[in-house]
């Protein structure tokens, strides 16, 4: 089919109008992918029964018990045009402590924090009482998941796949 110059220009103007909608869509797709990958992969690598004694390895992502942390992943739709930003995050009250560390838990009433779990050899009762609990170690799950997705090329693949819908 022959296309004249005017027809070619009209076609490219249509392409431009389409591509202008790409950045927000691609940012949304990337944020949704990261949120799902965290909930379904990073936060399920180690599953524990509720109440089971567990000492987390520094730097390891949080283990899954109730699943509330995974359920608290959220995304916020992209804003912007040719440069668009979307958010991926976690609204659980423990999320920031896990991701960034640097926290010491102290009782808000009474002198000790206390809980019961399945215990370990030197404390088979599983009853624990501490004046404070050091949560200084990081157990990040958002940044490492994003880095993994970038390093594996998977995030780029997902984003290109989405962009193709806007690139005839």
């Amino acid at each position: 089919m022959a296309v004249d110059v005017a027809g070619n220009i009209a076609y490219l103007q249509g392409v431009l109008a389409l591509v202008e909608r790409a950045a927000p869509a691609v940012a949304d797709k990337a944020a949704q992918y990261i949120a799902e990958r965290i909930a379904l992969d990073t936060l399920t690598r180690q599953r524990l029964s509720p109440g089971m004694y567990h000492r987390a390895r520094p730097g390891a992502p949080p283990a899954m018990m109730s699943g509330k942390l995974a359920d608290a992943m959220f995304t916020e739709p992209a804003s912007g045009g040719l440069r668009a930003s979307a958010l991926v995050g976690n609204s659980d009250k423990r999320a920031r402590v896990f991701e960034l560390g640097g926290c010491i838990l102290k009782p808000t009433s009474g002198s000790h924090l206390g809980w019961k779990d399945t215990g370990r050899k030197d404390n088979p009762s599983g009853i624990w009482r501490h004046r404070q609990v050091d949560m200084d170690d990081e157990h990040p799950f958002i940044e490492p998941t994003t880095d993994e997705a970038i390093d594996e090329g998977e995030l780029q693949r997902i984003m290109i796949e989405e962009f193709r819908k806007y690139d005839p």
Partner: protein, 42 residues
Amino acid sequence: MAGALPAVEQRITVQTAGYLAALDQVLAAIREFLPEESEPGS
């Protein structure tokens, strides 16, 4: 205490300006091939 902490978030930014600039250049190049509009009545 922990309840007062804000959510932890990561921002993902995508920029398509470079792609659009390239398309604009293609458009400009093609427009040069358009015949100049003739004067009305000429």
